[in-house]
């Protein structure tokens, strides 16, 4: 037991420390170097950074040279293949050309309208730095799908710039050296892009999946699978990393779309066929004005401000008018109510007056009748006197005056 353990230790020690013939370093020291490289590289240690950049410049060029024969064969194969398919492709292209010509005009109009509206909402970006670069290496690793291009910081390439191919999004710059750069393809699993699905304006995050496919990871609208129609996938511009509206791919509405939980995006471009790419950065449109234009702009601004103030005043006046109108209507309503009340009261008064008059008349009658009983005989005409006939006005007055004497008086 002890012996086998000793053997194991001896074998391991020998494996790590024994240098072979013509070997300058033992394995242990080289492993140590590797670990140092890894640690210092991840800590962005300056010396390691310079060494890394140096190695990269050499390796990228060497790799381009080493891949030369293979690329030559690949290119020739493609040329021959294209040559055989030339006739079919020509007929297909003619049909497509006729179709596209008819669509071109309406597309131009839509583009112009789009620019106008984007300017209105201050979301119009213009390319301020465009560089065409050649793809040096297109080695697809299991960890990183990326391409190396032959333009670096010397050509004003910066981290985060977009990489396009024929207007389609290909990736973004993730590493910049002096003469070369690395672009992370959107097909890489680590690439996360905010996208918008049209029609429907559904927001999502897309990640790479395969050579030609991406996958929607986070979809804002959960009912995506219910909408059974083809969807265009564009950059949404959310987060400000990518300009909005760059085409990426399409989600086909096939039969199994409804149960397709992966939501696979088929890219427009074949990333394995990249030869030249355009590296661009975008910024918001910023018009440079001369002095007179600036004055005009200032004048217009002032006018706008004045108009705004006037508009504000007008708005206040309108509000005041509205309030006054409301008050007037309220007063009018109250007035109407009061008028009705007044009419009602007047009628009541008239009625009361009438009643009073009636009462007064009744009282007079009662008084007359009472006095008639007492003084009637003094005024009534009979055979023996020449007084008044009952029921006449003179008789009534006589009774009320308590007899004839009073009349004489």
């Amino acid at each position: 037991m002890e012996t086998s353990r000793d053997d194991f230790v001896i074998a391991i020690r020998s494996a790590f420390l024994k240098k072979g013939t013509q070997q300058r370093f033992s394995l242990l020291s080289l492993i140590f170097f590797s670990i140092v490289f890894l640690i210092l590289g991840s800590l962005n240690f300056k010396v390691i950074d310079y060494i890394k950049k140096g190695i990269k410049e050499i390796v990228y060029r060497s790799s381009f040279i080493v891949s030369g024969p293979e690329n030559f064969l690949k290119d020739n194969y493609l040329i021959i293949n294209n040559h055989f398919n030339l006739y079919e492709e020509r007929i297909k292209n003619i049909d497509e050309l006729n179709y596209l010509r008819s669509r071109n005009l309406s597309q131009q109009i839509i583009t112009l309208e789009n620019i106008k509206y984007k300017k209105l909402i201050d979301d119009y970006f213009i390319g301020n730095n465009e560089t065409v670069a050649k793809v040096l290496i297109d080695k697809q690793s299991p960890f990183l799908r990326s391409v190396i291009i032959n333009k670096g910081s010397k050509n004003n390439i910066e981290l985060g710039m977009l990489v396009l191919n024929e207007g389609y999004l290909v990736g973004k710059i993730v590493e910049v050296n002096f003469f070369t750069s690395r672009a992370l393809l959107i097909s890489d699993i680590n690439s996360k892009i905010p996208v918008s699905l049209q029609p429907g304006d559904i927001q999502a995050i897309m990640s790479g999946k395969d050579k030609q496919e991406g996958v929607l990871q986070y979809v804002k609208d959960k009912n995506l699978s219910d909408i059974n129609e083809e969807k265009q996938v564009l950059t949404s511009g959310a987060g400000g990393v990518f300009k909005s509206g760059i085409p990426i791919g399409v989600i086909y509405a096939d039969e199994d779309f409804a149960i397709n939980l992966d939501r696979v995006v088929s890219f427009h471009k074949d990333f394995s066929q990249l030869k030249y790419v355009k590296v661009v950065s975008f910024s918001k449109e910023n018009n440079l004005l001369d002095l007179s234009s600036k004055r005009n702009a200032q004048k217009i601004e002032n006018e706008i401000e004045e108009t705004n103030q006037q508009q504000e005043t007008l708005k206040i006046l309108l509000e005041q008018k509205q309030i006054a109108d409301e008050i007037r209507i309220k007063i009018q309503k109250e007035n109407d109510i009061l008028r009705n009340e007044s009419v009602r009261l007047k009628n009541e008064i008239l009625l009361e007056k009438k009643n009073n008059q009636q009462n007064i008349n009744q009282k007079g009658e009662i008084k007359f009748l009472e006095m008639n009983l007492v003084y009637g005989h003094k005024c009534r005409k009979s055979i023996f006197n020449r007084l008044y006939k009952v029921g006449t006005t003179e008789y009534k007055e006589c009774v009320l005056n308590k007899g004839l004497k009073k009349i004489d008086e």
Binding site: D7, I10, A11, I12, S14, A15, F16, K18, G20, T21, Q22, Q23, R24, F25, S26, L27, L30, I31, F33, S34, I35, V36, F37, L38, G41, S42, I48, K52, I55, K56, V59, Y60, S62, S63, V66, S67, E70, N71, I137, D138, K139, Q140, S141, P142, F143, L144, S146, E175, R182, I189, N190, K211, S272
Partner: protein
């Protein structure tokens, strides 16, 4: 005399074939570990390094392997030093196997190779995922390991054949 000279040239050229193959496989755009096929990929560098550091230690120097690892990291975009570390661990394994082996056998070598690449890929997966935050597909790794293991036997036989063809005859003469 001419024949002897010619044989020496062939012999010398053959000596540099492993190292040339290693650097070409590392620098070349086409990579067997990512052929674009869903269930087929293998790591040719692992096979090459394992075979030649086990059978012909003098063909591939450790420094050359270390540099090839650095180049591989640069081309793949992986953290620099990672592939070197993996290649060197593979060399440690072969060195250990060489020390403990009395009678070489292809099957034993293959099984040892499988265990080694399992350890190496696990280590690689852990470092990439948990330290450097790279996302990688677990199933692709497994596929690559299985095919690398299976193809070791084929390549090992092929290398043996070439060895016999170029050097065997030479040694006899």
């Amino acid at each position: 005399m001419n024949k002897i000279n010619r044989n020496n040239i062939v012999h010398n050229l053959y000596r540099y074939i492993p190292i040339t193959l290693l650097f070409v496989s590392v620098l070349n755009e086409s990579d067997f570990s990512n052929l674009g096929l869903k269930y087929f990929s293998f790591n040719f560098s692992y096979i090459l390094i394992f075979y030649y550091s086990l059978k012909k230690k003098e063909s591939l120097g450790y420094i050359a392997i270390f540099i090839a690892g650095l180049f591989n990291d640069v081309v793949l975009g992986a953290p620099i030093g990672l592939s070197s570390l993996m290649y060197l661990i593979l060399c440690v394994a072969t060195s250990y196997l060489r020390n403990i082996t009395l009678t070489p056998s292809l099957i034993k070598d293959g099984i040892f190779f499988l265990i080694t690449i399992l350890i190496i890929n696990s280590l690689l997966f852990i470092i990439l995922n948990f330290i450097f935050g790279f996302e990688s597909n677990y199933y692709e790794q497994i596929t690559s390991i299985i095919w690398t293991f299976l193809l070791y036997f084929l390549f090992s036989t092929m290398f043996d054949f070439f060895d016999h063809y170029f050097l065997g005859k030479n040694n006899v003469r």
